[in-house]
């Protein structure tokens, strides 16, 4: 054996503050180039899907290839509205946080298409197990902006009565499972929910959500094992937005080519999609949902996108990544791309866009005004401390009743 001393390999991103952004080794297949397997194709026959990227919109804004055509013009316009709403919503809430109206916020800038398009591929009754970066599921599902803001402001009308960190929404009716602060835990819960649906002979399916960084968590494995073993009717989404706070995706991905490849160890069909291409996300989500509903089991989707903003209001990315990396990001801006497509289709124009933008901003501001009228974290009124003792259990046990009384509520 050789006596060559070993050394530790520590992955590093391509560029750090001060460097020129460089995505030259990031391969972007041509729109329309990736095939569309039948939903019952054997997993081992479609391994190629994990190493390319499904894309529908080409540079000219046309929808091309076998994944095109899953949405009508009206649906696409609604999708554009949803993304624009989310962007304004983010913008207003970031400002509100800076004004002290809430303690915390995390935005979706650059990755609006993922959740907005995905939501359109689900049926009512299906259940998402989202992370904090899928508010698009609520917005695209028609959940009231005002209610979201009430939660963010922890005000008197917050449906969670101030218990949860801002943006940790919950809505059973809207198929949005209560968000956990602990990464990864809900991926396996999504599988369990899907198993329950199968046990019950139901037709509803579940969708799990996890970030690139969080795929490292052990519950990712639990989810993959259970989904594979029981062929659970679940769509498992990895949102690869390139960053996990300050840590680039290569730290979690390691020596694997892609996150989608993780599915191969489990015989789970895995597919990468351009997460900034609304049409592609929708088409892939539809395909995966159809697989689940037809009894073909789980699908792993890697949504390739980019976190253009800070991780959250507690973070400043200037310390660890180069500014303007997003400008160099090869998959562009999801809003601009869908807009261009609608213009190409002849059902949208710059003028209508400007007008819609103004309307949406008005709507968001109107919702904010109503929400603020019910209180913010600076002005109150806040939910009563009494509620913190409630619903720890279905029925309040004696020791909590005594503590509540001691607390004076």
């Amino acid at each position: 054996m050789t006596d060559h001393p070993l050394s530790l390999h520590v992955p590093e991103p391509g560029c750090r503050p001060g460097d020129e952004p460089d995505f030259s080794d990031f391969e972007v297949p041509k729109a329309g180039a990736v095939r569309r397997p039948a939903i019952d194709e054997a997993p081992e026959k479609m391994r190629d899907m994990a190493f390319s990227i499904v894309r529908v919109l080409n540079r000219k804004g046309e929808a091309v290839g076998p994944w095109a055509g899953t949405l009508s013009g009206d649906e696409l316009k609604q999708g554009l509205r949803d993304m624009m709403t989310l962007r304004h919503f983010d913008d207003r809430m970031l400002k509100a946080q800076r004004q002290g109206k809430t303690s915390f916020y995390a935005q979706h800038l650059g990755e609006e298409a993922v959740a907005c398009a995905f939501r359109r591929a689900l049926e009512d009754g299906d259940m998402n197990f989202p992370t904090y970066r899928q508010a698009g599921l609520l917005i695209a599902g028609g959940y009231p902006l005002e209610t979201m803001m009430n939660q963010i402001f922890s005000n008197a009308r917050d449906p969670l009565e101030g218990r949860q960190l801002p943006i940790f929404y919950s809505s059973k009716d809207h198929g949005f499972f209560t968000i956990s602060g602990n990464l990864g835990t809900q991926f396996i819960q999504a599988v369990g929910w899907a198993m329950a649906s199968a046990i019950s002979g139901d037709t509803r399916i579940a969708a799990g959500w996890i970030g690139d960084g969080s795929t490292s968590e052990s519950d990712f494995h639990a989810a993959m094992v259970f989904a594979s073993t029981y062929k659970a009717p679940v769509v498992l989404n990895v949102v690869n937005n390139q960053w996990a706070i300050s840590t680039f995706q290569g730290m979690a991905r390691g020596n694997a080519g892609t996150f989608a490849a993780r599915g191969h160890g489990f015989g789970i069909p895995s597919i990468r999609v351009d997460g900034n291409d609304f049409l592609a996300v929708h088409a892939v989500a539809k395909w995966a949902a159809a697989r689940a509903r037809a009894g073909h089991g789980p699908t792993l989707i890697e949504h390739v996108t980019y976190r253009a903003g800070a991780h959250s209001t507690s973070d400043d990315p200037a310390a660890y990544r180069t500014k303007h990396e997003f400008d160099a990001w090869p998959l562009g801006d999801p809003v601009a791309r869908l807009k261009a497509h609608l213009v190409t289709l002849g059902i949208w124009s710059d003028e209508r866009h400007i007008q819609a933008d103004a309307e949406i901003l008005d709507e968001v501001m109107a919702a904010q005004k109503k929400a603020e009228a019910c209180g913010t974290m600076i002005s109150g009124p806040a939910p009563s401390p009494r509620s913190m003792f409630e619903r720890v259990y279905a029925e309040m046990p004696d020791h909590l009743r005594r503590q509540r009384q001691e607390a004076g509520y």
């Binding site: 449906p159 218990r163 599988v191 046990i199 019950s200 639990a222 619903r391 259990y393």
Partner: protein, 337 residues
């Protein structure tokens, strides 16, 4: 009524619950075809089908995490962790998820699930088949924690746990599965089949969570204990000839404070016994609450008899186990204080 071992009583609770309610599903490592390494789920797969009772991959976090998803869906999962010593991989799912879901969603989602796990030592299982981790669960608000000491309670408490709308942990003292055990490991054990508490109703019945039982009334001193130690306390009481009131707590969280206060107010003396390691064990909480609520009634320090603060050893098992001698010594010390 039938004579049952604790294992049979637990199996019967599953059986009755699955029969009454289609939403009850049972899974865990080796619980399906084989019926569990302790046989607590024997026959269920055959009777109810493999979609309602099945084996799971060896991943405790996955078992509990999947059960949480199922509970959120509307099923009532009852899962087995093969030994309580193996609950740690599932601890995040238990603490951060199961226990929190109702509260954090303000009741939008709930988590009615049962996690069973054999607990305690006395079977030469060494440090990873003997632990008693109850204190790591009683610190977690949102959970209920139950520990039966006989077949009747094992069935009644498990049925109540399955009916409960919140997550319940059921700790099963494995040394009691086949018969009561008083710590005299060198003497023959009376099997449940010949014991009054082995007489168990075949059908549905439940024992409310949160209610302690007076296992043996007395006036000299109060013993607060649960699981295997109930019988050790009884042996020590008989051997010292003291008129000991033995309280079998049965539910550790929420605790039956009324029963505790009533007894200690009466006796003025209190000994707490558990097999778990002493420091930060559940006995600490019991000692604290007794002292807080009965300070002026106490005639002697509240005294704990516990497992030593070491891993559970294999060969020195009987030096570790808080047996009748140590308990009797504590009784005498408390009476003389």
């Amino acid at each position: 009524m039938a004579q049952m071992t604790m294992i049979e009583a637990i199996q019967s609770a599953h059986d009755v619950a699955m029969d009454r309610d289609e939403r009850v599903v049972v899974f865990g490592e080796d619980v399906g075809y084989f019926g569990g390494v302790f046989r607590c789920t024997a026959g269920l797969q055959e009777k109810y089908g493999s979609h309602r009772c099945f084996d799971a991959p060896i991943n405790e976090s996955g078992i509990v995490g999947a059960a949480i998803g199922m509970a959120a869906y509307g099923l009532k999962p009852v899962v087995e962790i093969q030994f309580a010593d193996y609950m740690y991989p599932a601890y995040d799912q238990i603490v951060s998820e199961a226990a929190r879901i109702r509260h954090r969603s303000n009741g939008d989602f709930t988590c009615p699930l049962v996690i069973r796990m054999p607990t305690g030592g006395g079977i030469f299982g060494g440090q990873t088949h003997s632990q008693s981790p109850e204190a790591l669960l009683t610190h977690v608000s949102g959970l209920k924690v139950v520990i039966p000491s006989n077949p009747r309670d094992a069935k009644g408490l498990l049925m109540a746990a399955i009916d409960d709308p919140d997550p319940v942990i059921v700790l099963e003292p494995k040394r009691l599965y086949n018969g009561p055990f008083d710590g005299h490991h060198d003497r023959p054990v009376v099997p449940w089949k010949k014991h009054a508490l082995g007489d168990v109703d075949d059908g549905h019945f439940s024992i409310p969570l949160g209610e302690a039982a007076i296992y043996r009334p007395g006036s000299d001193l109060t013993v607060l204990t649960y699981g295997t130690m109930v019988y050790v306390a009884e042996a020590a009481a008989n051997e010292t000839g003291l008129d000991v009131e033995i309280m079998d707590l049965r539910t550790l969280l929420p605790l039956d404070m009324d029963a505790i206060e009533t007894s200690v107010a009466k006796t003025g003396r209190c000994v707490i016994i558990h097999e778990a390691t002493r420091t930060s064990g559940f006995g600490a909480e019991l000692s604290a609450v007794v002292q807080e609520t009965c300070f002026y009634a106490l005639e002697a320090p509240v005294t704990r008899v516990c497992g030593w603060d070491t891993p559970y050893p294999h060969a020195q098992e009987w030096a570790y186990f808080p047996g009748p001698d140590r308990v009797a010594a504590a009784f005498r010390a408390v009476m003389e204080a």
